[in-house]
C-alpha cells in the first residue's frame, strides 16, 4: 500500500507540473510589451530602493483580485537582505483596493509567501524546499528574489583563491532555478545591486556589466537596467521612465517624461 501511495503522489506532482500555470505575459505591459513576455528578469542598478519598489509593483499586480486589476496568482518573495518593507507594501495594496476592505487585503496577503535566507547555502536548500511547495500550490506562478547579489562578497571571501569555488553556490542556485523554470513553467524576477570592484577604476559602463557567475548570466532572458540618467550607449533596445511615490511606482507617459527631462 505504501508503494501505491508513493506512485499516486508522484503522479499528482506530475499533473501539478503539467497543468498550465497562470501565464504572466501581461504582468506589466509597460515593462514587457505584448510580444516579449518575461521569463527571467534581472535588474542591476545603482543603489536605491527603487528596484525593490518595482518588485512590489509586480507583486501587487499579481496578488490583487481581478476586480482591482490583478492576476490573482500566488507569489513567493525570497528576501536575502532584509529589505522587505511590509508596511509599505500593505500601503500600496491599500491604495489599489477599494477603501477599507479588510477581507480583500487579507486574501491578497495570504497569496504571498515570504522566505528569508541569510546565506547562499540556505538559499540553495530553500529553493530545493520550494520545489515541494510548487507542486502543492498550482496557483504559484512567480518567484521574486531580492536580491540575488546579497551574498556575492561573502561567497568570494569564503571561496579563497579559486573563482570556481567562489561562484559554486550561486551557480548551483542558478542551475536549480533553471530546472524549476523548465519543469514548473514559473517566472522569476531578481534584483542585483551594482558594485564597485576593489582595485578597478570606476566608470559608468562597469555597472552595466553583470558580475555574477556564468550560470546565472546564461539563465537571464531579460535584463532591465534602472538608472537615474539617460542610457548612454546603444546596448539598450528600449527605455521607459518611472518615478517612485508613496503609492508605489508610477510610470510616466511620454509628455511627462519630456517635462521631467526639461526640468533637470
Amino acid at each position: 500500500i505504501l508503494e501505491q501511495s508513493v506512485t499516486v503522489c508522484a503522479s499528482c506532482q506530475l499533473l501539478a507540473r503539467l497543468e498550465a500555470r497562470r501565464c504572466l505575459k501581461d504582468i506589466e505591459p509597460r515593462l514587457f510589451p505584448e510580444d516579449r513576455g518575461p521569463d527571467q528578469g534581472d535588474w542591476p542598478r545603482p543603489p536605491t530602493h527603487s528596484k525593490t519598489e518595482l518588485l512590489y509593483h509586480l507583486l501587487c499586480r499579481c496578488v490583487l483580485p481581478e476586480a482591482a486589476g490583478g492576476l490573482e496568482v500566488d507569489v513567493v518573495f525570497v528576501d536575502t537582505d532584509y529589505s522587505l518593507d511590509m508596511l509599505h507594501l500593505v500601503s500600496i495594496l491599500d491604495s489599489k483596493l477599494s477603501a477599507a476592505d479588510e477581507a480583500a487585503l487579507r486574501s491578497c496577503l495570504s497569496r504571498l509567501l515570504f522566505v528569508h535566507c541569510y546565506s547562499s547555502s540556505q538559499l540553495l536548500l530553500t529553493l530545493h524546499f520550494l520545489e515541494t511547495t510548487l507542486s502543492s500550490r498550482p496557483a504559484l506562478a512567480l518567484i521574486l528574489i531580492d536580491s540575488i547579489s546579497a551574498f556575492y562578497w561573502v561567497d568570494r571571501c569564503e571561496g579563497g583563491a579559486s573563482y570556481t569555488k567562489q561562484e559554486e553556490k550561486l551557480s548551483r542556485c542558478a542551475e536549480l532555478l533553471g530546472r524549476l523554470l523548465r519543469d514548473y513553467r514559473i517566472t522569476v524576477f531578481a534584483t542585483c545591486h551594482a558594485i564597485r570592484r576593489p582595485g578597478v577604476p570606476s566608470s559608468s559602463s562597469d555597472s552595466e556589466r553583470s558580475y555574477l557567475c556564468r550560470s546565472w548570466q546564461r539563465l537571464v532572458t531579460h535584463r532591465l537596467l534602472c538608472s537615474r540618467q539617460e542610457p548612454g550607449n546603444n546596448m539598450v533596445s528600449w527605455s521607459s521612465s518611472f518615478c517612485v511615490t508613496e503609492a508605489g511606482v508610477a510610470f510616466l507617459s511620454a509628455s511627462e517624461e519630456n517635462k521631467c527631462a526639461a526640468r533637470q
Binding site: P46, P47, T48, H49, S50, E53, V63, V76, D81, Y82, S83, D85, M86, L87, V90, R106, C108, L109, S110, R111, L112, L113, F114, V115, H116, C117, Y118, S121, Q122, L124, L125, T126, H128, F129, L130, T133, A150, F151, W153, V154, R156, C157, E158, K169, R172, L176, H193, A194, I195, R196, P198, G199, S202, V244
Partner: protein, 312 residues
C-alpha cells in the same frame, strides 16, 4: 556549507557517512542536490531511508516560508517608532527611529553625529525609560557628557543615575571585536542588558565606518565581506529583537566633487534612511545647546529632503 556529521538526523550513522563520503557527498547541500536513487544504490542503503534522511535534513536547514498575512500581523504588533528627542529630526525621519531598521547619520568631522547619538541615547533612556546599547568605536563617548545632557532634563540625581544605568556602553576598535560583540548580543547579551531596566530598544554604533573603512580599498575582498557581515548581523538583530539600529558614517567626495556618505556603493543600500549632517559656518553664538541643534536642523532639512527623494 553544512558538513554532514554523524547523528545529525536519525539514520545517519557512521557507516552511511563513510559510504556517502566515498561517493563524494560531504555536505548537506551535496546530499540534497544529488540523485537519491543512484546514491542509494551506490551506498547500499534503501531508497526510502535515504529519501527520509534527505527530507529531515532539508527541514532542519531550510528557511520556512511565512504567509504574508501572518507576517503583517506580527509586524503590526511589534514595530515601534522611537522619538529621537528632537522634533525636527523626528519629522525628517517620519516620526522617529523605526525598530527593525537601520538608520544612518553621516557627516564630516565635527558635524555633530556623535552629539546626535548621545541625544538619542539620553532621550530613550530618560524619557522612554528603555535600555540602549551604545557601541563606541572612536573613543568619543564620555559619561560626563551624557550626565551633562541628563542634568539639562532633570535635577534629580537618582533619576539621572537610573537613566545612565540604562545606557550600556561597549568600547571596541576593530571589526572582529564588533562582529563578536554583535553576535554575543544576539545570543543572550540583549536579554542580559534588559534585566533591571526597560528592554533594549536601540543599538547605536558610533561609528561603523571607523572600523570598516581601513579594510576597504586595495584588491582584497575580505574588507567587503566583513562589511556585509556587519550589515547582516545588525539587520538580523534589528529584526529579530525589534530594536532600532542607528549607525554613523564618514563622508567622502565623489568624482564630481560633491559630498557623499562613505563606505561606497555596496553599503549604500543597507540603511533604510540616510541623513547627511553638515556644519553651518555662519552659526550665531551658540551659548545654549538648543540653538546649535536648530541650526543643524535647518541644514539637515534640506539635505535629507534631497537624499530621501533619491532613496525612497
Amino acid at each position: 556549507m553544512v558538513v554532514l556529521r554523524e547523528g545529525m538526523c536519525p539514520g545517519l550513522d557512521e557507516d552511511l557517512l563513510r559510504d556517502l563520503r566515498a561517493a563524494d557527498i560531504k555536505t548537506v547541500e551535496d546530499l540534497v542536490s544529488s540523485d537519491i536513487e543512484g546514491l542509494a544504490q551506490k551506498c547500499s542503503v534503501s531508497y526510502k531511508a535515504l529519501f527520509a534522511i534527505r527530507r529531515v535534513l532539508l527541514a532542519q536547514h531550510t528557511a520556512f516560508p511565512v504567509s504574508g498575512a501572518d507576517l503583517y500581523e506580527e509586524l503590526l504588533s511589534s514595530t515601534a517608532i522611537l522619538s529621537t528627542g528632537n522634533p525636527s529630526l523626528d519629522k525628517l525621519l517620519d516620526s522617529g527611529l523605526y525598530t527593525g531598521e537601520i538608520t544612518e547619520l553621516s557627516g564630516g568631522p565635527g558635524s555633530g553625529k556623535s552629539q546626535v547619538c548621545f541625544g538619542v541615547a539620553v532621550h530613550i533612556s530618560y524619557q522612554l525609560k528603555q535600555s540602549v546599547i551604545y557601541i563606541d568605536t572612536t573613543g568619543g563617548l564620555a559619561a560626563s557628557r551624557l550626565l551633562q545632557m541628563l542634568q539639562a532634563e532633570t535635577s534629580n540625581t537618582e533619576e539621572q543615575m537610573e537613566a545612565l544605568q540604562r545606557i550600556h556602553v561597549f568600547r571596541l576598535f576593530d571589526v572582529y571585536a564588533l562582529l563578536d560583540c554583535l553576535y554575543s548580543l544576539r545570543s543572550g547579551g540583549l536579554q542580559q542588558a534588559s534585566v533591571g531596566g526597560g528592554s533594549v530598544k536601540a543599538v547605536i554604533v558610533d561609528s561603523v565606518s571607523a572600523v570598516i573603512s581601513p579594510l576597504l580599498g586595495g584588491k582584497q575582498n575580505e574588507g567587503m565581506s566583513l562589511m556585509i557581515q556587519v550589515a547582516g548581523a545588525l539587520k538580523t538583530m534589528a529584526k529579530d529583537f525589534n530594536v532600532a539600529a542607528l549607525v554613523t558614517n564618514h563622508v567622502t567626495r565623489s568624482g564630481s566633487g560633491e559630498v557623499q556618505p562613505g563606505l561606497g556603493v555596496s553599503w549604500s543600500h543597507i540603511p533604510r534612511t540616510r541623513i547627511l549632517l553638515e556644519r553651518v559656518e555662519k552659526a550665531a553664538a551658540v551659548s545654549q545647546p538648543k540653538m546649535s541643534w536648530s541650526v543643524m536642523e535647518a541644514m539637515t532639512g534640506q539635505l535629507v529632503f534631497q537624499t530621501f527623494w533619491m532613496f525612497t
